[in-house]
Structure formats: C-alpha cells, structure tokens
Amino acid sequence: MAKERRLKGIAVSKGIVRGTVFIFETKKIEVFQTPILSIYIRKEIERFEKAIKQTKRELMSIKERINQEIGADFAQFLDAQILMLEDKEIINTVKKNIKDEKKNVEYIYHKVLSNYAEKLGAAKTLYLRERVVDIWDIGMRVIRNLMGLTHSSIVEVPKDSIIIAHDISPSDAALINPSNVLGIAIEVGGQTSHTAITARALEIPAVLGIEGLLNKIENGEVVIIDGDRGILIKNPTRGRIHFYEEAKKKELEFEKTLSPYCELPSKTQDGRHIDISANIEFFAEYIHARKYGAEGVGLFRTEFLYLTRRGNPTEEEQYRVYDTLAKRMKPQPVIIRTYDLGGDKIVTDYHEANPFLGWRAIRVGLDNPDLLKIQLRAILRASANKNVKIMFPMISTYEEIRRVNFILKKVMEELKAKGIEFDDTLQVGIMVETPSAAIISSHLAQQVDFFSIGSNDLTQYTLAVDRGNEKISQLFDHFHPAVLRLIKNVIDAGHDAHIWVGLCGELASDPLAMPILIGFGIDELSMSPISIPKVRMVLRALTIPQCVEISEEALGFRTALEVKRFLRRTIHKKFPSIEMVVRKRGEKNE
C-alpha cells in the first residue's frame, strides 16, 4: 500500500470527512486543428449544431437547479450565457468559416470566440472585460461537447466527493451542492477568500492554500480532509482512518448534547437575556439560522450579491433578496450591512498597496453615492416589513457617520415623496471595527441606534497584524488586553448613550470570551449559525455578578496568554458544566 502523506494547508472550515477526489479543473483544453474534405463540411456543421443544442440543455438544467436551490436572482447570469451560446452572428460566422477554411469546427469555433474575447478583453469597464470569463465558460463547454469530453462542472459533482482544485471562482462557489460535496481542498486562498466563506456557510469542511496540490492528488482516490487542523491526508493508514472515525463519533455525540440548546431561551442562569443571532452571507443560510435557533440575523453581508452578479445588482434585484429574507425571518430582526467591498471590485484597474488600510467599505460608498443610494433604497423598501435594521461598515470618523446619515435621510425623503412604503423608525447602526471608532464611540453613539463590534477587524487594526500572514498570524489574538479594553469602552459608551451594543466577530462564538463579554454588558452576540447552540449552552451556565467580577479581573492582566489562563482556571473552578465546550475550543484553536 502506498505511503501515507499529509498535505498541510490553512484550516478554514471545520469538520472531518473521508471521500473520493473530484478534480475540478478550469484549465483550457488544447484545441486541435485538422483539414476537412469538402464532402464532410455538412457533417461538420451538423456536429456543431448538435453540440450547441446539447450545451443549451446543460445550461438550462443548471439554471433550473440554481432557480430551485439558490433563487431565481442568481440564475440570471445563465440567461446571458444562453444568449451568448445561441448568438446568431457567432453561429453563422462559424458555419461560414468552416465552409471557407475547410477546417474542423473545434478549431474554427475557438478562433471565432478568441476574436470576440480579445475585443471584449480590451474594454475599459471591468464588467465588460469580465464577460470574457463567460465566453470561455460557454465556449469550452461547447468544445468539450464536440470532443466528447466530460465536464468538470461543480454542479455535476458526484455524491460523496471531495473537490480538489487550483481555485474556485465566486460564481462556481455559488453552485456548490452541499448534499454531494463532502469536503474542499484548493491550492490558493485563505481565511477570508470566497471559497472559505462559502465552505463555512454550507458547513463543508475545507482546507485551503495547499501548494502543489494538483500534482499530488489524482481523480478518484480516497482522501481525508481534516478541516479542524487544516490537513489533507493521502493514502490514510488503517490506524488513521480509525482515529478519524472515532473523532467523528465524538463530534456527533457532542452535537447531540448541544442540540437541545437550539431551542432553549438565551438567558443567563440568573435570567438576563442576551440576543444570540446569526451572521449570514447567502440568502439561503437563513435556513441554518432557523435550524440552530438564532434570534434574528445580526449581520447580513451583502457583498455576495455584488460578487456573484459580477457587478452592482439593481435596486429591484436587491430589494427582492432583502425583502424575502425579512419575510422569512419575521418577526425576528434582520440587520443588513451595506457593501463591505474593496475598491478593486468597483473600479477597473484599481490597485492599492494596502487594501485593508485603503479605499473600501463605506469609504467607497461615500465616494460613489449612487451605488450606496441604490442599496439604501432597496433596504428601506424591505424595511416595510418592520423588522429590518441598517448597518454601515468600517466607520472610522464622526464625519463619515454624519455624511452617511445625511444620504440616508435624503433617500428616505425621496421615497416618501414618491409614496413608497418603508419603516421610518428603522434602527441605523455602525460596525465598530477600527480603533478610532472604538475610541471615539461616545461621540459616534450620538448619531446611531446601535453598535456592532466587528472583533476580527478591530483586533487586526488594533494589533497591526494581518492574520493572513503566516509569519505573524500568531500575534493575532482577540484576548489581547488592548482589544478587550477597546471593547469595554465601546459597550460603556453605547450604554451611556442608551443604545444597544452587539458583537459580530469570531469572539462572539468563543466560549472562553463569554464571561468577559457578558460581564462587560454586551446586549447581542452574532455568529455563524452552527455556533449558536454551543454559545447558548455556555450562556445558560453563567450569572451576571460572576461575569462582572471575571471581566473586571481580566482587565488587569498584561498579556493575552495571562487573560486566557485566568479564564480557563476560573471556568474550571466555577463553571465545570461548560468546561467540555471550553476544552474543545482549546483543542481546535490552539
């Protein structure tokens, strides 16, 4: 038997799975060229027509699937693809060229498409240039059909597969079918890449950033993906398989003990209620939110709408998504955050040395008020459901929130003038994720109805650590005393101004952080839906006076390590019932 090999990558989505490798390649096929005898020209043209028809059937069935599983809005790009496929100009040019040049259809078709792709690739607008991807998407599908090759389409992945790829584009990621895909491993990407977010959203274990992966793995082999430790195991030994089966069993048992907490109230032992809500990225995740007992959507990220559409969705398209989400979650609240996009997604040829310190999120929105207004109109219209709140990302100055509020007010006036219904009492909040916002939160609190602390970015900016950088990622620690002090400052400032304060970073689902956050007086915690039962279990074991005492003592320590040691000790002594959850955290995160 072949020797076992462990391929190390970045753990981005938890869980352990064993499955069959399905290599998803977007590599171009070599298109061959061969002369055709005049008598076979008709046959060649028939072959072309057949391939177009077959391709159309395939695209229609993909469209049908997306329609059913993700929503009609997401299937629109396929309409454009079908039109491109059936474009008469292209079809007629190909037929004519086959007659004139007497070459095989694969070669002629490829050449005609290259011509269009080249013209489109020269366009100044990014959206138009990106259509080149569509041209080759369809073109290669047709050529593969002509050559009798099978497609390695992500939609058609067989059951129990582990997807192995160099990369997965956002539009492909949107098509991943969680009932067939057990795990994902790709060569590029990190924690915040689209594949990572998708994998977490769909609860598919994933390991990213494995260099040279495609050279080491073959289609059809059986591998293990350990999404907790970030490794892929090739040719696992019998012992290893046994080890993982045991681990999986334990995992399932753990989930079973947690399952009652999907339904129990989110209350401390002494009766204080804390809202536990869900962070979601795709509309369809509201199902997870409900399944795990979320008390609302604490963060609906809207970037995905923009990225899958590869451009700004219209007001109507956005409205439909926001409105449906609000209706499905009713009466629970839904907090919709405006685009948190980097400038490179909005403007062609935009590069910057330091995107995290650059032109992004609300900064882009304020510079493109039309873009922002379309989104605000869509959110406001959805607020007619009376359970929608609006949130702005990456506020770092007082002027920004003033300007944003001004724009929002204008949009409201426009809607009112047109007689369009919306909730004029809807709450408006901001993400507090820059140290500057955290420090001047007492001023910002005068302008908003709530704060949501984005602990990941707040930690990254406070500690000046890019967690994606392996050399320094160990410095990223949200228990750093500086981060804890900022969080306390924000909560105090919020409460002094009588507004509520939530937290929606990873810290919200870290059981070790709970006594501190509760002690500080946090009102809401928002997290990935799967973490909800675990957090609720911890919450229900705590009492307010104990948490206040713990949080005060925690603030006295000098290092993140001291804080964590203290918390572990305290939980061991005072809350033995939740030690299991905390220890589990230790296994995975450190």
């Binding site: 039109l83 491109m84 700004n312």
Partner: protein, 85 residues
C-alpha cells in the same frame, strides 16, 4: 429605415444583463436591428456583438431599425438603452 442617437445611462455601461434584455427584445421584431458605435456596426440581435462594442456609461450609439415594425422596435429598444439598470 429609422436611425436614432441614444446615450447609455446605465452605471456600468451596456453590460450583460441589459445587453441580454436588448437582444431578447430585438428578436421579437421582424426588423433588422443594428447598433453603431465609433464607426463599428454590429447586429442588435447578437449579444456578443453588442458586448464587444464596450458601451460605457455616457457613450453615444446609433440604433438603426429597418423593417415593417421599425417604429415599435425603436421605441422599445431605445428605452432599454436609456434605462438605468
């Protein structure tokens, strides 16, 4: 045959969605439909042709409709080009 100058108002130019809407509408008419930009002429019934014109926001194109239903076609199609989404 009728000709009309139209300015593209869509924020992102004539991208895939409005272009596909244009083609779908153009196909409903018997008239021949052409779009000319900077001297380059493409069929209004070809999405690829339209996309390769790379019509950005603010640029002007000439739409030509030629056939029995040219008036209806022009009315319908120029509305799409002037649309905001």
């Amino acid at each position: 045959m009728i000709k009309k100058k139209v300015t593209i108002l869509n924020e992102h130019g004539l991208h895939a969605l409005p272009a596909s809407r244009f083609v779908k509408h153009a196909e409903k008419f018997k008239s021949e439909v052409k779009i000319i930009k900077d001297g380059i002429e493409v069929s209004g019934k070809s999405i690829m042709g339209i996309l390769t014109l790379a019509c950005e926001k603010g640029c002007t194109v000439i739409v030509i409709c030629d056939g029995k239903d040219e008036k209806d076609a022009m009315r319908d199609l120029s509305k799409i080009l002037e649309g905001q989404d």
